[in-house]
Symmetry: C2
Subunit: 271 residues, 2 copies
Amino acid sequence: MRKQITGFSNPTVKYLRSLREKKHRKAAGKFLAEGLRLLTDARESDRLPEMLVMAEKRDPHPLLSELEQAVLAKGGEVIETSTDILAKITGKDNPQAVAGLFAEFDTSLDALDRSGAKIWLVAQALRDPGNLGTMLRTGDAVGAGGLILIDDCADPFSVEAVRASMGAIFTQQLAQARWEDFLPWLRADVDEHGGQLVAASLRDAVPYRGAPYAAPCFILVGNESQGLPEAYEMACDLRVTMPMRGRADSLNAAVAGAVLAYEVLQSIDPA
Amino acid sequence: MRKQITGFSNPTVKYLRSLREKKHRKAAGKFLAEGLRLLTDARESDRLPEMLVMAEKRDPHPLLSELEQAVLAKGGEVIETSTDILAKITGKDNPQAVAGLFAEFDTSLDALDRSGAKIWLVAQALRDPGNLGTMLRTGDAVGAGGLILIDDCADPFSVEAVRASMGAIFTQQLAQARWEDFLPWLRADVDEHGGQLVAASLRDAVPYRGAPYAAPCFILVGNESQGLPEAYEMACDLRVTMPMRGRADSLNAAVAGAVLAYEVLQSIDPA
């Protein structure tokens, strides 16, 4: 169905705008993603928006036309509106010409297929949605299977996380679990696929360079200000340490995960 | 001098609060940094705040007392105020118990001593203050000399950049320059110290792992959405490429810089 929206007080505008808040996203089970590139990544990963919101004044693009047709063919809505209203919906002064409304994914651990990849990223109590999205993006780059969020993390469906993921929210698998559920899940399947849990740590650790990584390798990164709880670190199969030549004793969480992920990639799956 | 401030409309509160905006920071030549840890890093790097703003209700700490004495001894001001007013000044709901007012540093290229370190980070048109602060933090971790900001970057003295740097704003050298001034500066000194300019690139590049890095190595990272202009890439001494196993063709700028910086560290200055 096609629709034109001209008023700021239109209920659909209010609804879409409300999805910038977590409680409204959770109540609706929906989230927004912006930009033709992200939406194309989504479509190629078999994720179609239920609703497409487009600026009336936009440059024509074959990928956008295809997307429009795909959404309509699936019974979705295509809405045209002003740039100002798009800006209001997305909270951006210069909004992208198109945004899509998606159903949130199933993020249960059981839906993950760990045999599908050699590297997995795991974040514990990661609070910054930008870091979360960046980890998804890094996961895509190293060919990881996905990101597992442990304990209370930022919402992966927030506008900031989706934006920082640069589309990887659609291409990476995503799970959310408590530590007490994650660890048995990881250990349960050991005979068939196993899984090595690795953390950057200062406790009883070996140099990260040349450490005995093994696939599937689960790279665990901790909270931005607290790091990992000691018990979590001690449950790891391997603790590695990165050089710290300055005054600080830690890296940004997303940076630490990326440096480690590239090292693991080189170790277990060189080109 | 010691002072007590109780009113939100106090001119000092207004002044400090105004420093959250770039134009006011530039007009005053001052910036704010929060937290005892950052302020201690600053003091140990010979950067003392001109003014210290502390919450009336705070836990006593010997480092805070030392800082207070040092500021007073230098003729600075020490202000006590309520947590609510501190929150208003810093724009944080749960402010740190202490913030300091600093004079912005000289960020001219000529003030840099390139012989002081084997690694330097260089960012071009980096727009996100969080990425900028993260690069400073990474620079500290790899023992870099500092960060050189090329063309129009985010303001390194913004609250977000200072916060993300985790104190590295005080320990890393910082310079700002246009490309057309940076390149002659880099090349001018070739006989004495030289300087290898390296960028992550897809153009005519060699694998980043095992590339012929040489000290002092200047690692150049481009704008978040545009990457580096082609002419800048072609001016580099070495172009390297990192594995991209997924759909994306790039990493977050701060992540790319960090993965590359750790590789360079391993190559030119292993432990």
